[in-house]
Amino acid sequence: MTKGFVISMAIASAALAGSAVAETIAPDAVEIVDMEVAASLTGQPGDPIAGRKTFADRGKGNCLACHLNEDLKEQLFHGEVGPPVDGAADRWTASQLRAIVVNSKDVFGGQTIMPGFYTLNVGINVAEEYQGKTILTAQEVEDVVAYLMTLSQ
């Protein structure tokens, strides 16, 4: 959190001298370098409590569809398509987790089943209501990343 805060302050002050509001990075402008996205997409730190909700919400992250997560024991039906996320913060840095959530294809390769949650590089024939939209907003990505960073064992 502290690191995210420092980074976000750095961006805020570099990009908008004087202004306290940072620009949100558009999905096609996010740069994944060496499987990392270093800076917050919104310039704001994420909220781990909101991130926990987004993780479970079927209409948002629906991460539980594929990942077992001991921290969400109260929810029924955890999927087993992906690895359990328990201890994710011990295995990955925030920059790496941000890259995984933004577009897992850039980290795991094009064949992965895990959707990219903040990318417009998706499948064909996207239904009208989802065209030009990402699954999660930039702030929701930050929230989920902040939440994943709380998962250490």
């Binding site: 499987m35 079927r58 629906n62 539980l64 569809a65 594929c66 077992l68 001991e70 024991k73 929810q75 029924l76 039906f77 955890h78 999927g79 087993e80 398509v81 992906g82 690895p83 359990p84 295995r91 294809k105 980290v107 795991f108 390769g109 089943i113 959707p115 990219g116 998706v122 499948g123 064909i124 024939n125 996207v126 239904a127 009208e128 989802y130 939209k133 699954i135």
Partner: protein
């Protein structure tokens, strides 16, 4: 490198909130009489080694429903189909039975071998398209609208006449091979905002739980199937469209060229499994 570390996690036995995956070790014998081939070696060139019916991925209770034709709710649709078979409709004053007589003889094997090349139409026909063709050309009746209750019941009845027979389609006639090729392309094309192909789920992850759903190989041998969730029969093209919609993509019209091609290809992928119609699924 990250991927290697990950597959290690994947192979850990998952406890707690995760349900045990994989196909159930069980045998399907309907009414203690009709042995159903629910596992078989895949045909040459198939990406999977063994073909496994979707029946193996359902709960014990659901599997038991299909094994007992008195309890199988899909059998009501078979009965309704038999009524339609014998009912005169249309200007020509004919029923299906006027031309085809006893379905248990004349329709035996038909459901196991469709889709089939139709020379006049220049495309493969499935049972639904063949029924509509008969209604228009031979009965002077209107074609059924997609998923009309009678279309589902009659299709179920006709497929049920092949219960237990292995699925096997003829790819050597007409342009069937080209349709197979096109269907294969559809099967591997990722669609929608979630960016998933049929293969991503049914080839890569069958046997695993995706939230409360137990992913099967997506075989077609049970269609139309009775779905407990919907308390209704579900046609194959309805299922295709549902799976495509779940990727957050627009889905093609029923019986469109792309879904007919997909039906040809996916039916081939189910070769050798017994027809289970009406199968019972979740």
């Amino acid at each position: 490198m990250a991927i290697c570390a990950i597959s290690g996690f994947l192979s850990l036995a998952l406890g707690g909130t995760v349900m045990a995956g994989g196909p159930a070790d069980d045998k399907l014998v309907i009414d203690g009489e009709i042995e159903i081939i629910t596992r078989t070696a895949a045909p040459d060139g198939h990406p999977l080694g063994e073909l496994i019916s979707g029946w193996h991925y359902r709960t014990e209770e659901t599997r038991a429903l299909e094994a007992d034709s008195f309890q199988n709710p899909g059998m009501l649709y078979v009965e309704r189909g038999a009524e339609i078979w014998n009912t005169v409709e249309g200007d020509a004053g004919k029923s299906c039975a006027s031309c085809h007589e006893d379905a248990s003889e004349t329709m035996k094997g038909v459901g196991a071998s469709y889709p089939k090349w139709n020379e006049a139409a220049g495309k493969p026909f499935n049972i639904e398209l063949q029924i509509n063709e008969c209604r228009e050309a031979n009965m002077g009746a209107k074609p059924y609208k997609f998923d009309a209750a009678d279309q589902k019941a009659l299709t179920t009845y006709i497929k049920h006449q092949s219960l237990g027979m292995p699925v096997g389609i003829d790819l050597s006639t007409g342009a069937m091979q080209e349709w197979w090729d096109k269907g294969k392309e559809v099967y591997y094309t990722r669609t929608g905002q979630l960016n998933l192909a049929c293969a991503t789920c049914h080839e890569g992850y069958n046997g695993m739980f995706i939230r409360a759903d137990h992913l099967s190989q997506g075989n077609v041998n049970g269609f139309p199937t009775y779905r407990l969730k919907q308390a209704d029969m579900v046609s194959l093209h309805n299922r295709f469209r549902g799976c495509i919609r779940d990727t957050r993509a627009e889905f093609p019209p029923a019986f469109s060229d792309s879904l007919m091609a997909l039906e040809v290809y996916v039916t081939w992928r189910s070769s050798g499994l017994s027809v289970e119609t009406p199968a019972v699924r979740q």
